[in-house]
């Protein structure tokens, strides 16, 4: 009973916010065309879900997200590990990585649209390129930070350098790598939505601009909220996965 009361108390601010959202336009404090009441947004959301528009566009967006992230994870971990493990690779690649790392990746949107067009490829390429460096850097720093005696121990137990990289260095760097993946996950949503705002024929970002352009503001508000909550849910799911993978930390 106390737990329930505590939970209600903890999440009460969200309810208050929703209530304020509902009340402000209804009491005439703001124009309903600028802020449709919460209940109308919910109703519009229900309509979108029933029509299937929401799921079709969400599926399209999630596919782009998954493909771009998967490429970035494989490429970033691979390159980051190679750079950390082999000095010549490090010497060659480090200046390039260091100078491109701080670049605001949204600058790539126009050129990727130019190269790959309006479809999936430009969004996947954007997410891949945008998330590659965060994953690469966290892998690099993680592997570089592995306690040297761990690597020495594995080597003196008779394992080859490559076996030690995969069997010891990468697992030992996993906390850092996962932290980098979490950053990349958040970034991937930002890049996905941005590019779908700017130029797309489908996807959640496109749906938001389409609804906004058509003046369907309740539905637009609802979709914005849905995208935000999707990002939140993805982050929480990733945290759960992280906790499970790092259970050995005790």
């Amino acid at each position: 009973m106390r737990n329930i009361a505590g939970g209600v108390l903890r999440w009460l601010p969200l309810l208050l916010l929703a209530a304020a959202w509902e009340a402000a336009p209804r009491l005439g404090l703001v124009s309903p065309s600028l802020l449709p009441p919460f209940s109308r947004a919910l109703a519009a959301f229900w309509q979108l879900a029933r029509d299937g528009d929401l799921f079709l566009n969400a599926a399209q967006s999630l596919w782009r997200l998954a493909a771009g992230l998967a490429l970035a994870v494989v490429g970033g971990i691979g390159l980051g590990a190679l750079m950390a493990w082999y000095r010549p690779v490090d010497i060659v690649a480090a200046p390039l990585v260091r100078s491109l790392y701080p670049m605001p990746k949204s600058a790539l949107i126009p050129v990727l649209l130019l190269w790959f067009g309006l479809g999936d490829a430009s969004k996947i390429a954007l997410i891949f390129l945008g998330c590659l460096l965060p994953v690469l850097m966290s892998t690099y720093n993680g592997v570089r930070g592995v306690e040297i005696t761990l690597i020495w121990s594995a080597r003196s137990l008779g394992r080859s350098p490559l076996a030690v990289l995969f069997g010891i260095a990468l697992p030992a760097a996993m906390p850092d790598i996962l932290a980098g993946l979490r950053t990349a996950l958040a970034l991937s949503f930002v890049l996905l939505v941005s590019s779908e705002f700017l130029m797309a024929k489908d996807g959640l970002g496109y749906l938001i601009s389409f609804l906004g352009d058509g003046g369907a503001y309740p539905a637009m508000f609802a979709t914005v909220l849905a995208v935000a909550l999707l990002g939140f849910a993805a982050d929480r799911a990733f945290l759960l996965l992280t906790r499970r993978m790092l259970a050995w930390r005790g």
Binding site: S153, A154, R155, G158, A172, W248, R249, G250
Partner: protein
């Protein structure tokens, strides 16, 4: 001393350039021989390069000055013939006790059942029966170091390198570990290089103690310890033991004072 030298250091030196500063000569002209089955302690103040010497023998640090021979062959890189135990335990934290110990065995191409059996044998030997599925984070310092010792011994190295293995443990645990190490040595004699800055530990465990001087690290003197078979901590109460401790302490004392003065 039994048999010919298994490990030979010949004019070994080592120098490095710190991130900001001039080249430092850490080790200079070290020559030392360790016989088959001999327990050699390397004693010296902190910063004298004794661990570096062990890393050179382990093949972790590249040798540029002098020669190190093991069974007549020069050292080139790490290998399972030289097992290592570090002060920091160096356990793989995402592997259980059993998985840690099996890691070195997986490479040997033994059938799975035999791997398990051998891992269990060494788990029992270091008295960790019942903790097979624990993670290192769930164990005490002494238990972690036992896992590390078992992991190293399980691949049956001919040579054991120990880098201040008990330095991170409290005094009581350290004494228990001394007895366990001596028991292991009685059962399975290995050529051992044991790095320490603890004079009593060196006298209690070693057949010979090599005392090192501070920067640049050199071998100052090699003292044979004739206390016979160690059967228990009673030896430490004998006058002979006290004499050795005093003799070695006098050798180390001046070096330690210099090292402290030098580090200011």
């Amino acid at each position: 001393m039994s048999g010919a030298a298994q490990i030979v250091f010949e004019g070994v030196g080592h120098s490095y350039v710190p991130p900001r500063g001039r080249r430092v000569q850490a080790l200079l002209d070290i020559s030392l021989q360790i016989a088959h089955g001999e327990f050699m302690a390397l004693l010296g103040p902190s910063g004298c390069g004794k661990s570096t010497l062990l890393y050179l023998l382990g093949g972790f640090v590249r040798l540029t000055q002098g020669a190190i021979l093991v069974d007549g062959r020069p050292v080139s890189g790490p290998g399972p013939d030289r097992g290592v135990v570090f002060q920091s335990f160096a356990l793989f934290p995402w592997k259980t006790v059993r998985q840690n110990i099996r890691y070195g065995l997986e490479r040997l191409g033994l059938p799975r059942a035999e791997q398990e059996e051998r891992a269990q044998h060494f788990i029992d030997m270091v008295h960790l029966t019942g903790f097979e599925n624990s993670y290192p984070s769930q164990l005490s310092g002494g238990m972690r170091q036992r896992v590390a010792i078992a992991r190293t011994l399980a691949v049956r190295p001919a040579i054991l390198l120990m880098d201040e293995p008990f330095g991170a443990l409290d005094a009581q645990t350290r004494e228990i570990m001394h007895e366990e190490l001596l028991a292991i040595m009685r059962a399975q004699r290995m050529t051992t290089l044991f790095v320490t800055h603890d004079v009593r530990e060196a006298v209690y465990l070693a057949d010979r103690v090599a005392v090192m001087s501070a920067r640049p690290g050199r071998i100052k003197e090699v003292v044979p310890i004739a206390l016979g078979e160690r059967t228990g901590p009673e030896v430490m109460k004998s006058p002979a033991f006290a004499d050795y401790v005093e003799q070695l302490w006098n050798l180390v004392k001046t070096e330690a004072a210099q090292a402290v003065a030098g580090s200011r």
